[in-house]
């Protein structure tokens, strides 16, 4: 049975900074995105060719889609939404590549639990058993640090756009002393936005991590053919989760930007 951990495994530590396998995958995803971006725009022309037309279809399609969700504010918010979508979908799909999660090395467990009270015996066989398999790469979104970072970024960005578009008036969404009811609603809004961070983070992490576990288990039980439908399913889940994350962000930004619209007429 493969070893499954909720947390990403540490590969090494440089200058006191831990480098995990999911951080490594994040860098890989960044590299893929940047190379794609560079290749598609380094010789941009009005008559598109090859990779530029592919980028145009993706970016144009996303732009149209998000425009239908948040209207004319799309110009302001589009970079965030598109980056969320592209990063999440590529991270999800990179996690499904063969080799991710399976290629790695063995690390001595003894090193990790050196402070534990149980001293490991010097016998070779025991040491062998304690060796832990550490995959070199791990799906970037199968790590709560990544998804939580995205969630925090997205929720903070919502508040930023709120203040950017509506000005100081936007603060009234959370703190409003005009009446006890408004004050209570403001408190609810604070709780709601905080809970958005958690729901964002755990929805994405849960889906992708569960998918990887499912694939690992299926591959362990029946190595050939049978995991294929599940792999297809996970490809779809990866797309849907990217879409859900970016679209929910779009909807929440829309809600934030429409704050006070009703009051203006009252």
């Amino acid at each position: 049975m493969p070893h499954i951990t909720l947390a990403a495994e540490k590969l090494t530590t440089t200058f006191g900074f831990p480098i995990t396998n999911s951080l490594l995958t994040t860098w890989l995803v960044m590299a893929i995105l940047f190379i794609f971006a560079f290749l598609s725009t380094h010789s941009i022309s009005l008559v598109p060719s090859g990779i530029q037309s592919a980028a145009e279809i993706i970016i144009g399609g996303l732009h149209e889609f998000f425009e239908s969700v948040i209207g004319h504010h799309v110009k302001l918010v589009f970079p965030l939404l598109a980056s969320l979508f592209l990063f999440i979908i590529i991270a999800n799909w990179v996690g499904l590549l063969p080799g991710v999660g399976t290629v790695g090395f063995f690390k001595n467990e003894a090193q990790k639990s050196i402070q534990s009270k149980e001293v490991i015996s010097n016998e070779g066989s025991v040491v062998e058993e304690k060796k832990e398999f550490v995959p070199l790469l791990r799906g970037a979104t199968a790590d709560l640090n990544t998804t939580l970072a995205l969630a925090v970024f997205s929720v903070i960005a919502m508040q930023f756009y709120g203040f950017h578009v509506l000005g100081f008036h936007y603060g009234g969404r959370f703190i409003d002393f005009r009446s006890p009811i408004y004050f209570f609603v403001g408190a609810l809004e604070v709780i709601s936005d905080t809970s958005k961070i958690i729901s964002f983070a755990f929805r994405l992490f849960g889906n992708i991590f569960a998918g990887e576990v499912l694939l690992a288990v299926m591959a362990f039980l029946m190595p050939f053919i049978i995991p294929l439908p599940f792999l297809m399913l996970e490809l779809f889940v990866g797309f849907v989760q990217a879409l859900v994350f970016s679209m929910l962000t779009a909807v929440f930004v829309n809600v934030a930007l429409s704050h006070g619209e009703g009051e203006a007429h009252a």
């Binding site: 947390a7 951080l23 960044m30 941009i44 009005l46 980028a55 970016i59 640090n145 970072a149 995205l150």
Partner: protein, 167 residues
């Protein structure tokens, strides 16, 4: 938190990573692609407008051409009609003129004939009278004596002369 694998350092690292992604992709991907899409859209719109304009112009030109052709056809028709009318009038005039000329010529000829006839008649009378005088002279010379002859002939001559004079 520890068991879930959440580590503040890694969290910050991922925040920074995503910020970099946002920044780089905005610079490298969204701005150029969206601007070129916008540009292309504008160009296509311009092209469409131009074709629309050209089409309208073409229709106008076609109409103008049609109108000119119609006008030209009408004009030519009118000119031909006019020409025909004039020709008919001229024909009539010519014919009338000819008739008049012919009449004149005939009149002249008739007059001349009349004149000639008169002259000839006169001449004939003269000649006849002369011949008659001659014949009477000769006849009287043979049958009468000289006195009688003279008497009669004088008488006859006188008669004839008076006749001739009266004539």
């Amino acid at each position: 938190m520890e068991q879930l694998g959440i580590e503040p350092k890694l969290l910050v690292a991922q925040l920074v990573n995503f910020s970099i992604i946002l920044f780089v992709l905005t610079k490298l991907l969204y701005k150029p692609i969206l601007s070129i899409l916008e540009k292309r859209k504008k160009q296509i719109e311009e092209g469409l407008q131009l074709t629309e304009k050209m089409k309208a112009e073409e229709i106008q030109m076609e109409e103008k051409k049609e109108r000119l052709l119609e006008q030209a056809r009408k004009d030519s028709h009118a000119i031909i009609e006019e020409g025909k009318k004039q020709a008919i009038e001229e024909e009539k005039e010519i014919i009338a003129h000819a008739h008049r000329d012919a009449d004149e010529v005939m009149e002249k000829a008739k007059k001349e004939i009349e004149h000639l006839k008169e002259q000839m008649e006169k001449q004939m009378k003269k000649q006849t009278i002369e011949t008659a005088i001659l014949m009477a002279k000769r006849l009287l010379e043979r049958s009468l004596d000289s006195a009688r002859k003279r008497e009669i002939s004088d008488k006859n001559i006188k008669e004839l002369e008076s006749f001739a004079r009266s004539n």
